[in-house]
Structures are given as structure tokens and as C-alpha cells.
Point group: C2
Chain length 336, copies 2
């Protein structure tokens, strides 16, 4: 599936702004960040590597255009939300022990845990600095909302970590965690441009719920790719989430059912030490046979529909509606 | 030396507020934070343990009183600056591999690196959330200044980490790093109450410089305690900074001189693997003999004098002046 035209258009607007904002960081912090964003190699050479989809900045800019605002008005929000997203990726890779991201060594692997930790901290602060550089009421509201969304995201990640120590989690608990971990920031991204353009609270709120629902659809697809995704496309090993024994949607659906598959999956998750390729492969067919994959994809569709409904009811420009709808479909049908 | 009366007075005002603000965190984040702040044991029991000096909140409250403001006006700033300080302690302990803090296992040692990392992230965001809970012009200014001070602090820490890989650093480079790492946040603490009370820019700025200079004096003393401090009092092993080969003030003074001691110290720092007790002890006498300890203590005195001068020229209440002066002297004469 081809990348939506709006993603490419916003990328051209935002990428130079993102690069410029990051340059404010001190020389001791810059190399890790420029590497992580895909602009530089480990040794600091320029690289034309894939820099990520920049989904959140695109949503931010479109949410300004949606309410008749200028694209440029959304820039500080677009840059800030991408910084928060990437600070969380850098720290989550440390927490999850993920050695690869976007087909390259993750930041802590390419540099050190210490370097990645402090670089993430810097990006975390920089996001708020970008928004509060000016203190107009709109910028202040955008900053307040980002602080809240960031806190929700961090709580979601903490909850995900707690799940690792639980024998099972219900589907509802899993959904609540994923709403916090992914939904909150996508909700923010999908409304910050409208907030910065001074749109009314109702419209901002509809756009936020659109993003929140899109976030749940996004995460459902992510959970499917985390088990059944093609390593060549995702850049992650086969069954990565199973190796890490993540209580993702497909897993929680199967584990919380009172079935023989639940028992067998539970047994695999209780094996101490690293899982073998056979065990990972057996776990993924168990989940598939128990309907975990199917149910998760249905969940993705359900939230995509809800997202589109909210968008449909929002008082926004028709042209932007179609662009947002296209992005939403792309997100759910992506393969990486 | 007895703890200044103002520190104890403000502690009574701030500690319950700090405890309450932290309670907003989710149950997955709370245990690490409550343990780190000294309120709970590893297993979650209440403990009457030493909770730290709360120097920054005290400065914040006094800076409101100094300009004739109410003590309570400073609370969000006092709470926020203590949160930023403690987020940095939690992350720095991971970065430096420090296993103890205040005579107890550090957060990452008591829990895990992952738990401490995400808890630090939560505290980082919570600080801004506390300030931006209301969007009065004073609160927004206090938040903007905190964002800037936090960024400077993080850059200072990153610069300190870079020093670890350099054969030597000049005294000026060391001072610049320590000004960023410690001075910026103490400058913030010493002025945020005045900012929240709506004091004029000149007074806020004088109070900030007072705190900044106090921060340099504080750090000079810290560097002396990091090598020659009594482990029973500091809660850190003898010569801890030398074990970690920190380029602190005493070290940079000796290393950057063209002396035989510089060469010998350099040789010790170049030893691969852990330093023995004898090597640490030899390094500390080398530094002492080369005048590194003496010069650092003189530096502390110089910055304490400058701090007091700025305070003297600020348009503040005489009574608060004496309280701030007493705290400043206490900071420089402390033994832990």
C-alpha cells in the first residue's frame, strides 16, 4: 500500500523544522538524537535512511488545516509531539531490551544505555521547550495538553511493564493499557494543530477522540505485526512480542479465555530463560488457532470505524476529512 | 553544624504537598518514587527515614517571602523543582552506576533499571504538570523557566559524561559543566517563588544569580566530599568520585596543571578495570598534595561570597536575607 500523499507533503514541511529544533541540543546530546531520527550514521555521517513515517506530525498539521488554520501554525505542536514520541521510543527500547529499530541498531545498542537514557531525557524536555518558546494562550494550552498526554503515555508503558509480571491480563486491562500507551499521544497529535489554531473545544475534542480511536486501531495492528509481521518489513525478529512475553491484545484475548490453548500458552510463557524458535512458533500458532489474531484485527477495524465516525461528526473541512481518512486506513493496513 | 531553622520550617510546609502531588502517579509508578523520596521501604512500608534536605523547596519558598509574597504561593514551584531534582538523581544513579543514595540502595538497585528509568520519566513530566495545572501568567513563566533550567541541567550531565572519555579537562570546562549541572536548577529554585509572586524581573534575576553562585559553591563542596567525605556521613564509599574517575573540580585543577602529580594522576585514571583501595587512596593524596582540595574549597568560598553579594544587592526583605544567608553558609559547611 502506497504512503498517503498527505504524509509525504507534511514530511517536507516538518522534517526541516524538526532537524532545526533538535540542533538546539548541546554537542554532547546531538549524535544520539540525530542517529535515532535516522539523519546520521553511528559515526555521524549524513544518511538518506528511512526516517520513519512521521505520522504524528502529519496528524498535527492536518488538524490545523481541518479547522481552516494555516499548516505552519501547527509546526510547534507537530515537532513537540514527534519529540515526545521519539523520547519514549528511545527509553522503551532500553526498557524492553530491543536491539533493533527501523532495521538499524536501536540507540542504546548503537551508543550506550547511558547515552540513550540522557538523550531521551533531553528530547523529553525539548518538546516542552519548543511549545513554551512563546507564551500565547494557544501555545500554553498545547503545552498543558502535551504534559497530560505524556503522563498518560508513561503510565501506559509502566502498566505494560507490570503486565510482564502477571500470569494473565484481561482483554479490558490490555485495551486500557494500550489506550494510555498509544491512544493518548495520537489523540494529542490529531488535535494539537486545531488547538494552536484556536478552534473551539468541541472540534478539538472530536479530533482528539478520532486520534485516540485511531491509536487503538494502530496498536491492534502493531500487536498483530509484533507476532506475525515479516521481519524483512518490520525490522524486528519473527514473533518478537512473544519472545518478550508481551501481554499484547492477541495474547490477552487467548490467555483470558478458559481454553486448552490458554493453558498451553501460559505454560510457554512460564518457561524460564529465552524461548526457542520452536516455542515461539508454537505459541504463535496457538494464538492464531484460538482466534487471537482474528479478534485483534476485528478490534482494529472496530476502532478504525469509530475513528471515522468521530471525524465525520466533527465540524472540519471536507478536503482534510478525506486526507485524514486516507491516513487512518493506511495505518490499519500497513505491514510495518 | 545544625540544620538552619528555615529549612525545617519549609520542610513542614512542603513535604505534605510533595507527598500529595506524587500520589497523582499511577500505582505502577508510585512504589519506586515513594521509596526514592524516603517515605517508604522497598516493600512499601512507611518509614521515618531521612528524606533529604529539601534545599531547593526551601529556597523556592524563601524567594517568595523575600519579595513579600505568601509562602504558599511558592508551593507549585517548590514541588516542581524538587521533582526535577529527584528525576535527575534517579536517572544519574543509573548512568553513574551508583548503588547507594542516602545510606540506602539507589532506586535502580532496590528495584530495576527499567523501573527506575520509567519512574524518573514520570517525575520529569509530573513537575511540568504541577506548574501548568493553572495557566496564570506567573505559573506559565515558572514553567518556561523550569523547562530551560532542566535543559541546562541535562546538558551539564551529558557534558560530565563526555568528560569521562577525555584524558583531561581544564578547570574552566569543569566549572562550566558544573554550573550547568547544578547551578541552573539552584538558580531556578532560588527565584521561582519570586516569579510566582509576580516580583519584578530585576529582583527575580538577582535571586536567580544568588542561587546559581550558591550552586557552584555547593558543587565545589560536593566534589570535595566525593573524594574526602566520611562514608559514614555521606553514605557513599571512600573516594567514590575517584573510583568513577570523575573529572570533578579537584581533579581538573590537578590534571590541567603541568606537574608530576598531573602525570601520576593521569596514569591512575588510565588503569583499565576497577581501581584498588590503594590506588584510590594514592590518587586522593596526590590531589591533596597538588593543592586540588585547597583550591576547590577556595572556589567554594569565592562563589559563596558572590552569592551573598548578589543577595545583598537584591531588593528583598531583610529577615529573609538572613535566612537565605544562613542556608548558604550551611550548604558550604555541610559534611554530607
Amino acid at each position: 500500500m502506497e504512503s498517503p500523499q498527505a504524509l509525504n507533503r507534511v514530511m517536507k514541511l516538518i522534517e526541516p523544522e524538526l532537524i532545526n529544533s533538535v540542533k538546539k541540543l548541546s554537542d554532547d546530546l546531538l549524535p544520539v538524537i540525530e542517529y535515532h531520527f535516522g539523519w546520521k550514521t553511528i559515526k555521524g555521517f549524513k544518511t538518506p535512511k528511512d526516517a520513519g513515517k512521521r505520522l504524528r506530525p502529519a496528524l498535527a498539521v492536518l488538524s490545523s488545516e481541518a479547522v481552516g488554520g494555516r499548516s505552519e501554525t501547527a509546526i510547534p505542536g507537530a515537532v513537540a509531539v514527534e519529540m515526545i514520541h521519539n523520547f519514549s521510543l528511545i527509553h522503551d527500547d532500553i526498557i524492553d531490551g530491543d536491539k533493533e529499530r527501523r532495521h538499524r541498531p536501536s540507540a542504546w545498542t548503537a551508543f550506550t544505555v547511558e547515552d540513550a537514557l540522557i538523550a531521551g531525557d533531553a528530547l523529553h524536555t525539548l518538546a516542552f521547550q519548543v511549545l513554551l518558546e512563546e507564551d500565547t494562550p494557544e501555545r500554553v494550552q498545547a503545552a498543558r495538553r502535551l504534559v497530560d498526554a505524556t503522563m498518560t503515555m508513561i503510565s501506559g508503558q509502566a502498566s505494560d511493564m507490570t503486565f510482564d509480571d502477571l500470569p494473565t491480563v484481561s482483554f479490558e486491562e490490555c485495551l486500557k493499557m494500550e489506550a494510555a500507551k498509544t491512544g493518548a499521544l495520537l489523540g494529542y497529535a490529531s488535535s494539537v494543530g486545531a488547538v494552536l489554531s484556536g478552534a473551539n473545544e468541541d472540534t478539538c475534542s472530536s479530533l482528539e477522540v478520532f486520534g485516540y480511536e485511531l491509536g487503538l486501531a494502530y496498536q491492534a495492528v502493531d500487536d498483530v505485526l509484533g507476532i506475525w509481521g515479516d521481519p524483512k518489513v518490520t525490522g524486528k525478529p519473527v514473533g518478537n512480542d512473544l519472545r518478550e512475553r508481551k501481554k499484547s491484545m492477541p495474547v490477552s484475548i487467548v490467555l483470558s479465555a478458559n481454553s486448552s490453548e490458554a493453558e498451553k500458552l501460559s505454560d510457554i510463557f512460564n518457561i524460564t530463560g529465552e524461548l526457542s524458535e520452536e516455542e515461539v512458533s508454537y505459541a504463535s500458532s496457538l494464538i492464531e488457532n484460538a482466534g487471537g489474531r482474528e479478534a485483534t484485527l476485528e478490534e482494529a477495524d472496530k476502532h478504525l470505524k469509530r475513528a471515522t465516525e468521530f471525524l465525520n461528526n466533527a465540524d472540519i473541512r471536507k478536503e482534510t476529512f478525506y486526507e485524514l481518512e486516507e491516513i487512518a486506513k493506511f495505518v490499519v493496513n500497513r505491514d510495518s
